[in-house]
Symmetry: C2
């Protein structure tokens, strides 16, 4: 009885908030369980933790009113883009209101001469590139999923092109953000650089909704290259492949993509995507430039690869062949899943200084064998970043335990090598403890900032930091 | 009498601090007026505001002890690199202790395979590049002066190579920082990218010593290009020159430097550096790549320039000629000063979206004529960033007043065009009001962060924000 009474008192604020939102948003507010369950779940293995309601605003002003109302009642706010995060970012751990930004999906302004574009947060990366096609421009950041630009900014997304074009950190010029009390700020101007005050743009990029809700994003764009060519090359071991990458980058080849697949991943892709890649450590590469430039780049890299023991260097400028290759790469996770229909995928990533990458992968592969697990590896090796695609049987606690131990060993290994606990997936609530292990005293600075900007801890609480 | 007594009470904390520092640092502490005056002055027109004492630490631990002591007594701390800032950054506006970081000037660790290096903050950019020469690597960020890496990080420095290599924002991987209470943090790991928590590195880059003292910097490095070529090209007007830049960048030419000089600046350089450049709006360009690559780049840009009305396109791969050209560019400010020996230089900068750059420069040139002032213009036009080198007669209040008005009009014009009040010089205390005009409500977020991390306002007080 006492518990029930307690629950009633606690439930009251959110009930009030929902009633107010209902009167303003009508059918754009949902309390249906199926809807709430969907919005409490991302693409990871983390279980759904449904919010109390889902509201769908259309403007920054509407988001501001939602957050103001939640602030007044100290009700949590969880921004939602496409739900393609991988560390439980959208789980409503303390209940509250999920803000569904999918209908804020307009391209606001394209500035072709300035190579920038202003978009609402619900625009997805594929939608943006379709929109841009006729302008001769493109936006390079490509996490596997067709994520929303707002979510990509919030999670500091990255992908296969980062080695040349950087991550969201380098490609967001400015943000409009609704703060924890409902105020709206612009973090920066459209100028390509600035030395004017604290870098608020970079503070909100990667803050995973814990400091504010992103409602507009200004992005850098790039000219679509005159020529693009792709290549595949096979290596006797991971070390030779990584050495090829190191030399290529030191040589200053402006390589656009350089991706590593281990044998297990190549095998999975062959089965799933009907490719016939040699089952060995493999690099997939892409070159952007002029006709002559990409030819020269490919020749230089081929020479470097052969010097490192690479073979079967095949390259193509045929668009269809290229697309097939990269589609197969992007389907890597599905390819893994297909090998074990009853299994769940645990996708995780770390990033280390590239000089330690081969060693980090080698020791992780040894662990995989020792634990008797199945976990193909793919990597954005130009950045020292790699992914483990752990396949774990549903309701197999013994296997889950082993997977947990393997995962922890991998992250701590990466930290021990001067690396980070996540290169691009983010922290969510899956990597809270690893973040503490990584940052030590600096965590207290993050906590001070969180407390200064969100004193009541209503912005996506329980993510990044335990407050 | 009351005032004197008041002063005595106020003076006490710093007297205590100085006594403690004297016992620990001995001759590495100075209270000599000549020393204090030097450390209270940068290269700008801002007058010297001497600190109460200057102390010269050798380690992070020593910096931590100095800051702890100052924190205990609420005495201001002003970090000092080389004194080459341009907005009064090192002025001890509220007295206190200047921390001279010039003897923390060791390269700590070079990781050639990872293309990064760890340095102490007093290492200068030229010292670093001399150190790196044999490794085949270089660090590209080049503000005109031979500034310290710590100062460059603190002020988010930039320079002629930023169009290709980015600014300090993109090239600092990690920092060691002494916080306002003396605690020491590491902002990040050496991994090239990370999605692990708030981006503290970018928060401290550009914070101008107001949030902490930078005591170690990890930088990205690049392979020295196989080939470098430079070019000069003359244009009938600024618009044609800027159009050439816009098309070059849209075309995806990976140009390393693209600098604009207006007629007044070309004339000043010819006189000072004995060059014989045609007196017209001029672009200086530099290409980095393979032999074949730089040749191709130069040919593409020449074609674009000719299409925009450019002429006299001359290019060279001769190292001596190249160095002479860029030395003349870097001596631009001295060249201006030489034209008016009795004058003082007021160097200032703004940055706008590149589509507005020609218009912004044109209207500023019209103002210069209307006010009857002399103020050559040089610009990192690839970024939309340009500098005004205002020459103002010493003790000429009428001219100073006109210069002030011209300056304010230029900054407000840039803001009106979606630009920023400073692209690379920083805020110091010269641009406090412009920062407020630029950021609006976002200033309150900067202020919250400042208060959270430096509640007693002892870190370089009076810079960036009025607290």
């Amino acid at each position: 009885m006492a518990d029930e009474a307690q629950k009633d008192v606690q439930a009251k604020p959110v009930t009030n908030v929902i009633a107010c939102l209902r009167s303003e948003f009508g059918e754009r507010l949902s309390e249906a369980l199926a809807v709430r369950e969907r919005f409490g779940k991302d693409e990871s293995f983390h279980a759904s933790v449904p919010p109390d309601a889902v509201v769908t605003p259309h403007t920054t002003e509407e988001v501001s009113r939602i957050v103001s109302l939640c602030a007044e009642h100290r009700v949590p706010v969880i921004p939602y883009g496409t739900g393609t995060a991988l560390e439980g970012h959208v789980a409503a751990l303390h209940g509250g209101i999920s803000i569904n930004l999918q209908e804020m999906n307009q391209v606001v302004e394209l500035h072709a001469e300035d190579l920038d574009v202003v978009v609402q947060p619900g625009v997805t990366r594929k939608q943006l590139n379709n929109y841009l096609r006729d302008s001769g421009l493109f936006f390079p950041i490509d996490p596997g999923a067709d994520a929303s630009i707002g979510g990509m900014a919030a999670c500091r997304a990255s992908g296969t092109n980062a080695v040349r074009y950087g991550t969201m950190r380098e490609n967001v010029l400015a943000l409009t953000v609704v703060l924890a009390d409902g105020r709206v700020i612009q973090t920066s101007r459209r100028a390509r650089k600035s030395a004017a005050g604290y870098d608020l743009t970079r503070l909100f990029v990667g803050s995973e909704g814990t400091l504010g809700v992103i409602t507009e994003v200004t992005l850098r764009l790039y000219g679509i290259p005159e020529a693009i060519s792709s290549a595949v090359c096979t290596f006797p071991d991971v070390d030779s492949a990584v050495n090829t990458v190191i030399t290529t980058i030191q040589y200053g080849v402006p390589i656009a993509r350089i991706e590593l697949l281990d044998e297990a991943q190549v095998d999975a892709i062959n089965r799933y995507s009907k490719t016939d890649l040699a089952v060995a450590p493999t690099l997939l590469l892409e070159f952007h430039g002029t006709d002559q430039g990409v030819k020269e780049q490919a020749e230089i890299v081929q020479e470097i690869a052969v010097d490192s023991g690479g073979s079967n260097f095949q390259w193509t400028t045929n668009t269809e062949e290229r697309n097939r290759l990269w589609q197969a790469r992007h389907d890597a996770a599905y390819a893994c899943k297909a090998l074990r229909p009853g299994g769940e995928i645990w996708a995780t990533d770390v990033c280390v200084p590239i000089s330690r990458l081969a060693e980090c992968i080698r020791e992780t592969q040894q662990d995989i064998r020792d634990f008797g697990l199945f976990a193909p590896i793919v990597g954005h090796v130009g950045d020292g970043n790699f992914h483990l695609c752990l396949l774990v049987g549903k309701d197999d606690p013994a296997e889950s335990k082993k997977a947990n131990e393997l995962h922890e060993r991998m992250v701590m290994r990466a930290l021990g090598m001067g690396g980070t606990c996540t290169g691009e997936h983010g922290v969510g609530y899956g990597k809270l403890d690893f973040l503490v292990a990584e940052h030590g005293e600096a965590i207290s600075v993050m906590r001070s900032i969180k407390q200064a900007l969100d004193p009541d801890n209503i912005m996506n609480p329980g993510k990044i930091l335990r407050v």
